[in-house]
């Protein structure tokens, strides 16, 4: 991927007429098909902090999964850092997910049987680093996110906020230029949510990482400098604004 050195005036993400329909394997209706996204057009530039909002079932997660190269659109095209994702091989997709995109989930999605340290280190292992070097880097990252003393804890020995910090550290460990966060504060209380959002804001501001996050809450969305609103699979609002809280 040449993604790390694209010019700021070139979009990091360009989505054209993107559609997504799910095939419902209905016993009676073989070709039953449920369209979730309709002709989505988007351009996202490096350094943006975007909040995606919309009612439940409006297709936010579906869009995020496609942007994160975890799922493929049924129509339209998706260009990531100037390259058409549809042309990527399986290995290239894995590489993009590993190096260029960091994913943060509502349910944290940590590997239960591994310590916080090892959880953060796995993306480095998949990138081909050796065990000891990867642990060293994971440790320094956990220390930066304030989890220095929890490195040997297993996910079930950590609070929700701590787990999400581990997950964010894992998303950051390969220094991606894009972070996708699907309701990262959905399982957290207000106080912890604010802390997590402050962390995102800091990453966006200090490291210039592009962040796209899905949320239902206005005060979370307020951290972003661009708001996209989905309704029934259509973009109904896409506006720049200055973040109100920092």
């Amino acid at each position: 991927m040449s993604g790390t050195n694209i010019a700021p005036n070139q979009p990091l993400i360009r989505v054209e007429n993107l559609c997504k329909a799910y095939n419902l394997d209905h016993p009676e209706n073989q070709s039953a098909c449920h369209q979730v996204l309709f002709n989505i057009n988007l351009e996202i530039y490096p350094g943006e902090f975007i909040a995606i909002m919309g009612q439940s079932g409006s297709g936010k997660s579906t869009l995020m999964n496609i942007l994160g190269c975890l799922d493929t659109p049924t129509a339209g095209s998706y260009w990531l850092a100037g390259r058409n994702v549809a042309t990527f091989s399986g290995d290239e997709l894995a590489r993009v997910r590993n190096r260029n995109i960091g994913f943060v989930f509502q349910g944290f999605n940590l590997l239960k049987r591994m310590t916080a340290l090892d959880n953060v280190a796995i993306p480095l292992l998949y990138a081909g680093m050796n065990r000891s070097e990867s642990r060293k880097q994971a440790l320094s990252l956990l220390q930066q996110t304030g989890l220095g003393q929890f490195t040997r804890h297993y996910p079930n020995q950590l609070s929700g906020g701590q787990q999400q910090r581990v997950a964010i550290s894992r998303a950051l460990v390969n220094q991606p230029q894009l972070i996708l966060a699907d309701e990262p504060t959905g399982n957290l209380d207000t106080q912890t949510s604010q802390e997590i959002m402050a962390l995102f804001a800091q990453l966006n501001r200090d490291r210039d990482i592009t962040i796209i996050l899905v949320t239902h809450e206005d005060d979370i969305a307020a951290y972003a400098n661009r708001l996209i609103r989905l309704k029934d699979g259509h973009i109904v609002q896409d506006e720049m604004r200055s973040p109100t809280t920092v």
Partner: protein, 407 residues
């Protein structure tokens, strides 16, 4: 992700499910142990038979009195006394025949000092020792002259010598056979069991004539129980068989459609059949045992499929953070392979232990070879890859979103 890390990851996954891993491995352990055990028993039996054949003497025919019976070859005393030492002499003159060894045999009572022993006794000529590959351990065999003058000399089988004389050196001692004194002139080297399972070392050999006239008291003077014939070469065996039949029919005045009053058998061919049978048996045992390996392999596949389903979410997470399909495939394949290899090592150890125990307890010959162990491992690895591949492939081809959504 480099291979070493994947190996440790796989190992970690196996350790986390110790009971399940252990039970799955048990299938492999039992299968491998069974294969090793069966092969070692089979090859032991085969080696035993090959030893016997090697000690038997080469390109041998056996001629016994009486018509071919449906029961096949009969050893021991023939029911009819139609074969004579003179027949043997005549056969020895045939162009395809190297040597003949007429034999009379029976059971006799032996004593030396206070020791009594009853065992088989054979009257033979000096040629018998060469034809049937006997090696003299101590002393010497008796001579043609001994046969001509029917002297009372004896050559003892290893076991008989031990039973009668213990640690004493029997050479030059006098023992009594059916109450007549005999001078011991030689002791034979041990040979082991014959093809029919008889212990060949428990015997006494005396001159043919002595046996006929003084010990066994034949009804028909000059008749013999059997005759070993050594052909000049392996290629000439069939020719020898035909020549012997023609000569004996002529000597016994058997004409036209009349049935032979003797039977000629190719001992070497019989031995070859026995050897092949043993070989087939050895491989059959191995093949049967390998069915349990197959069952173990299916068990591995089953468990791996369950494991893949259980860990669908883990697979999704790994894919989301950059695991390639190859990395996932390798991880699950290695898990299956590790169960197999670890099971294989334990199984080989168990198999060898059992084989050893059986050889000790049941006094069975067992043979354990490196190639057998190599074979077991090759088999196990093939099974690991074969049965591990489908579940691993299934894991690797999961779609990231779907795997992540899996509860």
């Amino acid at each position: 992700m480099n291979l070493l890390i994947i190996i440790t990851e796989s190992f970690r996954a196996l350790r986390l499910n110790r009971l399940r891993t252990g039970l799955t491995m048990l299938g492999m352990i039992i299968g491998v142990a069974a294969v090793v055990l069966m092969l070692s028993i089979g090859q032991g039996a085969q080696a035993n038979i090959n030893n016997t054949i090697a000690s038997m003497g080469s390109h041998l025919l056996i001629v016994v009195p009486g018509a071919t019976s449906s029961g096949g070859l009969r050893f021991g005393i023939g029911s009819v006394k139609t074969l004579t030492a003179a027949d043997a002499q005549a056969i020895a003159e045939l162009p395809s025949v190297e040597a003949t060894a007429p034999v009379v045999s029976g059971i006799a009572q032996f004593s030396y000092g206070a020791n009594n022993w009853s065992t088989s006794i054979s009257g033979v000529t000096p040629d018998y020792f060469t034809v049937s590959n006997w090696v003299i351990e101590r002393g010497d065999i008796f001579s043609e002259a001994d046969v001509r003058s029917a002297t009372r000399v004896a050559v003892l089988g290893k076991i008989t010598a031990e039973n009668l004389f213990g640690t004493e050196d029997p050479i030059g001692k006098t023992l009594r056979i059916s109450n007549r004194p005999f001078l011991v002139v030689g002791v034979l080297a041990a040979k082991g069991q014959s093809l029919s399972g008889r212990d060949q070392d428990d015997n006494v050999l005396i001159p043919l004539t002595t046996a006929q006239r003084q010990v066994l008291g034949n009804q028909f003077p000059g008749s013999i129980n059997l005759m070993l014939v050594q052909a000049k070469s392996a290629e000439m065996m069939e020719e020898a068989e035909q020549e012997i039949t023609r000569l004996l029919r002529q000597r016994h005045r058997i004409t036209g459609k009349m049935e032979n009053d003797f039977t000629v058998r190719n001992l070497t061919a019989l031995a070859a059949v026995a050897s092949t049978t043993a070989k087939i048996m050895a491989w059959m045992l191995g093949a049967i045992a390998s069915i349990s390996l197959l069952v173990g392999g299916i068990g591995i596949m089953n468990i791996m499929l369950v494991s893949v389903t259980e860990r669908t979410r883990e697979i999704g997470i790994r894919m989301a953070i950059g695991a390639s399909q190859r990395a996932i495939l390798t991880q699950f394949l290695l898990e299956a392979l590790m169960i197999c290899i670890l099971g294989g090592i334990t199984g080989v150890a168990l198999g060898i232990t059992c084989a050893w125990a059986i050889s000790q307890i049941a006094d069975m010959p067992v043979v354990i070879t490196l190639s057998m162990i190599g074979l077991a491992f090759t088999f196990v690895s093939i099974i690991g890859v074969f049965f591990g591949f489908y579940p691993a492939k299934k894991a690797a081809s999961l779609k990231p979103v779907e795997a992540l959504r899996y509860e």
